[in-house]
């Protein structure tokens, strides 16, 4: 009986940990990122979003990547708003997780 309880507990723990494993990767394409003041400014604005980690800015490619950790929900509108606050217009925002990928092109 104890063995069954132990196995059940193990399954519950596994289930709980997998439900928290909702880390997302966000890719943002932005023009005009050559100036460090602008690039680090964009980083500063994106840092305001809850759960954001590992912001990386590739100046030459105009590509920003970041992770949203934990169970934080993130919307493309929120990201777009932060990019615009930093003085840029996002060309494309991609949010992906383990199961599905949503891609939206901003016109």
């Amino acid at each position: 009986m104890k063995r069954i309880k132990y196995i059940l507990l193990l399954f519950i723990l596994l289930g709980v940990s997998s439900s928290f494993a909702q880390d997302k990767e966000v890719k943002i394409r932005v023009d005009g990122l050559s100036c460090p003041f602008c690039a680090y400014g964009l980083e500063k604005k994106l840092n305001d979003i809850e759960g954001v980690e590992n912001i990386h800015i590739d100046f030459e490619k105009g590509l920003v990547t970041l992770n949203i950790v934990g169970s934080q929900k993130i919307s493309e509108d929120e990201i777009k708003s932060k990019v615009e606050e930093a003085g840029f217009t996002p060309k494309k925002i991609e949010i992906s997780d383990f199961k599905k990928t949503s891609t939206k092109t901003i016109k």
């Binding site: 100036c35 460090p36 003041f37 680090y40």
Partner: protein, 270 residues
């Protein structure tokens, strides 16, 4: 004879086009100081040492004049243009909106009563401090504890558009008005006195240095240093040995320029 004169004229044009543009006192290239995995932004020459803001690695470093690091100050979140006053280094911390001070190895945080949004440059002189407030398009002037706001967002004289650096010299405020592609000069009451370089095709004016005789400005995208006299007359342009210059520091007849993309410091002398 006319033909020879014409050919000589063309030859002269070609020759001057290949060299740094010489209008006033010439600056000669001395050497390039290579930096390892550093994209320097702010720069302050300090005798036999250089202070460099290494934003990429979230630290300020002190190097000798060959670029060897003699001291590291880590955990400074994206340090920008520096100021040196009375042996104290002032560092605007871009991500936290604080000012960090370094004195004899000791780091302290200075919180401003008027909060900037991304402080990008600082200048300290006697009892006056000026901070370039990048996202608020203004300069915060703190004089004997009193705060005065200089400039507002815009493109006209007296207005600023993403200022990145500031210099206080002889009771005047010199601003690298980065995305207006010019320098602006204000008095301590906020009156706009001069616009400099607006006709010189500067493409992002990121860093400024002012000495007793000259105003130096970096043209980040144009890979140039433009040097003016105090009457706003352009007297010299350096367009070689630079790679996305962000800041200038002049000390003992030498000019040091931080090359953001080149991971180096260019040294020139008069």
């Amino acid at each position: 004879m006319k033909r020879i004169t014409f050919l000589l004229f063309i030859g002269l044009l070609f020759f001057t086009g290949c060299k740094n543009k010489t209008i006033g006192v010439e600056w000669k290239f001395v050497k390039q100081i290579k930096l390892d995995n550093i994209s320097p932004i702010g720069l302050q020459a300090d005798g036999k040492y250089l202070w460099i803001s290494d934003a990429k690695n979230n630290r300020v470093i002190k190097t000798d004049l060959d670029g060897s690091i003699v001291k590291k100050y880590p955990d400074i979140k994206r340090p920008m243009h520096l100021s040196l006053y009375n042996s104290k280094i002032f560092v605007p911390e871009y991500l936290t909106d604080n000012i960090i001070t370094i004195t004899e190895g000791k780091i302290e945080t200075l919180q401003l009563n008027e909060k900037p949004n991304a402080p990008s440059g600082i200048s300290v002189n006697d009892s006056v401090m000026a901070v370039a407030d990048f996202y608020n398009h203004r300069i915060i002037l703190i004089k004997k504890g009193n705060i005065k706001i200089i400039g507002k967002e815009g493109h006209k004289k007296g207005e600023l558009y993403y200022p990145t650096d500031v210099a206080l010299v002889n009771d005047k405020i010199y601003v690298a008005d980065a995305y207006n592609n010019r320098v602006q000069v204000f008095d301590y009451n906020g009156n706009a006195l001069k616009v400099i370089g607006d006709k010189d095709k500067i493409n992002v004016a990121t860093g400024i240095e002012v000495t007793d005789n000259n105003i130096f400005i970096t043209d980040f995208e144009g890979n140039r240093i433009l040097i003016y006299d105090l009457n706003s007359k352009l007297i010299y342009i350096i367009n070689k040995h630079l790679n996305k210059p962000t800041d200038i520091s002049v000390s003992e007849n030498k000019m040091y320029v931080s090359n953001y993309a080149g991971s180096s410091i260019s040294v020139f002398e008069q």
